[in-house]
């Protein structure tokens, strides 16, 4: 009992922000319709937390609720053990990096960075010192007196980050800050941001609709859909053990094969029947059946196999099919195989023999790498 209490206090002390709120609003993209956002989650101190989901799922609204730019209809937001639900954004000590940076066009780079410090009415000498530090940290010294509309996308992004971090916020919110950048720059800045967060130790909530970005940056991430959080976990947990078909398909590519689970597991082995009537044993004690362990194991499921887990021409093939399409991506080739009324996607590295369009191949997979997902309640 005492142990439990101590553990829960430790967790509570680690919590930087707790969000439990509900907001209904009119979404005007396409035809106007009422949309309800309802979430409950916590972010811990020093954590890099991502909100990921398709466009229009409520990520940005959630971020704006946290920043105080919108008000929730119900619920509360607790930052560092203080309720801030009714607090105006100017008093929340929350930094915000907007999607297109929202740099003040009438101010220079250094004036932009100094803005929040001036609002805090710090002595000028201190402001100068802090600005100089941030300019150096973000390698912006040479651009200090430039007007912001003379900067490139990457430079703007760095100024926006420096400006948001200058008043030393308790938490930093980033609303798709890489959206406007090209691929190369996005990669570089992503790495820089992660390093910066590690070095400075600030807590960050990062919004993106790009799964790759969320997976590579986050300590933990939440997948959102239609105003709700569907799953929270580390990047590996959410990718490898998605709890729903939606999460599986949103984060990376997924082969979802309808299958029938046979009644009671025997010795931890759950037999499932695939569409081609082949039976495969899933080890329920391993990762494979974790999502369904303890549930009624009978009826229709989806078997999730990631493309990288499909093996072409293995010793024991489960499916046989024809190569329908080949897409060459340089470091790997994406292979589309038509089999038993299904289209399977596999990723194969260089130098795999026997792969050409129209060719019949055998397809197999490691049952321990496959996941069984409940089919009900999550239709696309």
């Amino acid at each position: 009992m005492t142990k439990e209490k101590t553990a829960s206090r430790e967790v509570a002390e680690k919590d930087m922000i707790r969000i439990e709120c509900k907001k209904s609003y009119l979404r005007t993209a396409g035809s106007a319709q009422e949309f309800t956002l309802q979430t409950r989650f916590t972010v811990q101190k020093g954590e890099f937390f991502s909100l990921v989901g398709p466009s229009g799922c409520g990520k940005t609204t959630l971020l704006r609720l946290i920043a105080g730019l919108e008000r929730p209809d119900q619920g509360r937001i607790i930052l560092n053990d203080v309720e801030i639900t009714d607090l105006p954004p100017s008093r929340r000590k929350i930094g915000f990096v907007f999607q297109d940076y929202a740099l003040f066009p009438h101010l220079t780079v250094e004036e932009n960075i100094a803005y929040g410090l001036k609002i805090l009415k710090l002595p000028s000498a201190e402001i100068r010192l802090k600005v100089a530090e941030l300019l150096e940290l973000f390698a912006l010294q040479d651009l200090a007196t430039r007007e912001v509309n003379q900067l490139s996308g990457g430079e703007r992004q760095r100024v926006a980050l420096a400006r948001a971090l200058a008043p030393q916020p308790l938490i930093l919110l980033l609303d798709e800050p890489f959206a406007a950048l090209d691929y190369e720059l996005r990669h570089r800045l992503r790495r820089e941001l992660k390093e910066l967060q590690k070095n400075l130790g600030f807590t960050a909530i990062f919004v993106t609709h790009q799964q790759e970005e969320a997976l590579s940056l986050s300590d933990r991430l939440a997948v959102m859909r239609s105003g709700r959080i569907i799953q929270i976990g580390t990047a590996q947990e959410v990718y490898d053990q998605p709890q729903t078909r939606f999460v599986a398909e949103f984060l990376g590519e997924a082969n979802l094969i309808p299958c029938l689970a046979q009644s009671t597991p025997v010795n931890g082995c759950l037999w499932i029947e695939l569409p081609n009537q082949r039976r495969v044993c899933l080890n329920l004690n391993g990762d494979a059946g974790r999502a369904v362990r303890g549930k009624l194991l009978q009826g229709d499921f989806d078997l999730l196999i990631r493309p990288e887990d499909l093996v072409i021409n293995p010793q024991t093939a489960v499916f046989e099919g024809t190569i329908n399409r080949l897409e060459y991506y340089g470091h790997y080739t994406r292979v589309e195989i038509k089999t038993a009324g299904l289209l399977l996607h596999a990723m194969v590295g260089k130098g795999v023999p026997g792969i050409s369009q129209g060719r019949t191949v055998g397809v197999g997979f490691d049952p321990d790498r496959a996941r069984l997902l409940p089919r009900e309640g999550d239709h696309r």
């Binding site: 920043a67 105080g68 730019l69 008000r71 053990d81 203080v82 309720e83 801030i84 009714d86 607090l87 105006p88 954004p89 100017s90 008093r91 929340r92 000590k93 929350i94 930094g95 915000f96 907007f98 297109d100 929202a102 740099l103 003040f104 066009p105 009438h106 803005y115 929040g116 609002i119 805090l120 509309n149 400006r163 948001a164 200058a166 008043p167």
Partner: protein, 559 residues
């Protein structure tokens, strides 16, 4: 104890208001101020006993038919000529980059900003019997007797209207040309069309909405022309505006004046519909920004030569009349052959000036400046308040209601206001009221567009950095909006400074402004003093133009 108690002191309510909240009272007050005088005109024109019969009779009268014929004729010729004069410039503008293009863009606003009476004065001084133009003709064609004698007549009116309108035609058409995606022409070429065919099949159809819009706009401006026709039209040529003024001022026939105003309103309705239609089509044109090839002697000797000739001609056409006002203001008795003198300026302080104008020079200047500043300040404050109030909404019906002044001639409004409150309210109040009506649509459009372009994100960014709503407005919003505010203020000042019609109708001899003073000096044939006063007025207009230069629409920082 939780820290909540402390924090609730700074509750969101009443502390931070991100969404625009405020009273719409000024909006409804403006609607009353704008529509009431118009209703008075409509009532007087159509709702009194026997009004319809009188109106039908008026429609058949020679006065109506002659005025309609002349107005349509001069407006049509003015719009076509303005466009034709602007066309070569628009082509060069749209196809090439050349040194000084940026400055030219600014310079081209200037003619449009000039007060009407100053344009008339320049025309009289330059193209008049003893003007520099006729002297030039005599010098170029000695003994041939070639002279320009049509200033006081149809072609004089056209000349003044073209002088007024060609510059903004050039700019608008040039910018429209500039925005045409060159890939469309390239696509046409790859499909086998030559240059001429591409022009007629691709370029011209894309320019058509702008051309149509400009034709109708210049037509409307010319149709409603007052100052130019009043001075240069004599007894023979009258627009409806002049006719209203004559009925009101000379014959004191208010019923008749209201009838003409009502009739003009009906005619304008149709043109305004067309103007709005083409205006919308023009705005639909895709914005394509590209780097234009430089116009250089080496690459395009022929085009460069033609461009130089055209530019010189336009500079001459535009600046020569204004320069001749300047030169003549320093000549003895304002005559071209007179010696250098400052007497014309000294005479502005004489009793002769007071006798001709009815007021001392400084009072005239103070009247104009005080009136223009008051009107501009009022328009900008109300305009910005309303622009801020509707900042998260697209341009809608509410905004359109405020655009009424564009659909009613200013003289009609001023006359309606005179009928409504002419004998009850002081002249200065009526003038402010009328000029607010005159300047508001443009001021509101500038501020509404700029405020909407600014959006909320920068203010939110300021809030996230700790700024209170008040601090966010002072440190972010107003500094960014400074230029559009400045421009709106300057446009309002320029319009108010240049207004002659309301000052004549509502000033009632009590408030004399610079345009009224110049009008009276011309009426007394005191051209020498008129030119001196004109130069001062020109300087004032130039200062206002410099203010406008701070910002032009579409270049807002808040972008």
């Amino acid at each position: 104890m939780r820290r909540r108690t402390q924090i609730t002191l700074h509750r969101l309510q009443g502390d931070f208001r991100l969404k625009g909240k405020g009273s719409f009272a000024p909006y409804y007050a403006l609607l009353i101020l704008f529509y009431w005088p118009v209703m008075v005109i409509i009532a007087k024109a159509f709702l009194r006993r026997g009004a319809l019969a009188e109106f039908l009779l008026f429609l058949k009268s020679p006065v109506f038919l002659n005025t309609l014929a002349f107005s349509c004729q001069e407006a049509f010729v003015s719009s076509v000529c303005s466009l034709l004069v602007a066309l070569p410039g628009a082509y060069l503008w749209g196809k090439y980059d050349f040194p000084g293009k940026r400055y030219l863009r600014s310079f081209l606003i200037l003619p449009f900003m000039l007060p009407g009476i100053l344009v008339v004065l320049s025309m009289v001084v330059f193209y008049g019997q003893n003007g520099a133009f006729n002297r030039m003709l005599a010098y170029l064609f000695p003994g041939s007797g070639v002279r320009f004698t049509s200033l006081y007549g149809f072609w004089g009116i056209i000349l003044a209207h073209v002088f007024y309108n060609f510059s903004f035609c050039l700019r608008l058409l040039g910018e429209s040309w500039e925005r045409i995606d060159p890939r469309l022409q390239e696509a046409s070429a790859t499909l086998g069309a030559g240059r001429v065919r591409t022009f007629f099949r691709v370029t011209l159809p894309l320019l058509t909405p702008t051309i149509a819009y400009l034709l109708i706009l210049v037509f409307l401006y010319s149709f409603l022309s007052f100052t130019v026709v009043l001075v240069l039209g004599g007894f023979l040529y009258k627009t409806f505006e002049v006719l209203i003024y004559i009925e009101y001022n000379s014959r004191l026939n208010f019923d008749r004046a209201a009838l003409i105003a009502g009739g003009q309103m009906l005619i304008l309705g149709g043109f305004l519909y067309l103007q709005t239609f083409f205006g919308r089509k023009m705005q639909k044109q895709a914005v394509f920004r590209r780097i234009l090839p430089s116009l250089t002697w080496k690459k395009n000797p022929l085009v460069t030569t033609l461009a130089l000739c055209y530019s010189l001609l336009m500079v001459f056409f535009f600046t020569a009349p204004l320069l001749s006002v300047l030169v003549r203001s320093f000549r003895e008795r304002g005559l071209p052959e007179g010696g250098f003198t400052l007497r014309n300026y000294q005479q502005l302080f004489s009793d002769g000036f007071r006798f001709a104008v009815g007021e001392r020079f400084f009072v005239v200047l103070a009247n104009s400046l005080a009136l223009a500043s008051a009107v501009a300040a009022l328009a900008v404050i109300i305009g910005y308040y309303l622009a801020r109030l509707g900042r998260d909404q697209a341009w809608g019906k509410k905004d359109l209601w405020l655009q009424l002044p564009l659909g009613v001639s200013f003289l009609t409004f001023a006359f309606g206001l005179f009928l409504l409150a002419g004998r009850k309210a002081p002249s200065w109040l009526l003038l402010v009221w009328a000029q607010l009506f005159l300047v508001f649509p443009l001021v509101y459009s500038i501020l509404r567009t700029a405020r909407r372009e600014l959006g909320e994100e920068l203010l939110e960014a300021a809030a996230a950095l700790g700024a209170s709503p008040y601090q966010a407005v002072w440190t972010v919003e107003l500094p960014i909006m400074r230029r559009p505010l400045q421009t709106a203020f300057a446009y309002a000042m320029a319009s108010s400074l240049g207004d002659l019609s309301a000052a004549l109708v509502l000033g009632q001899g009590e408030i004399i402004t610079l345009p009224v003073a110049i009008y009276r000096l011309i009426g007394h044939y005191r051209f020498a003093q008129a030119t001196a006063l004109g130069v001062i007025f020109l300087l004032l207009s130039f200062l206002v133009f410099l203010l406008i230069e701070g910002y032009s629409p579409g270049q807002a920082d808040g972008g």
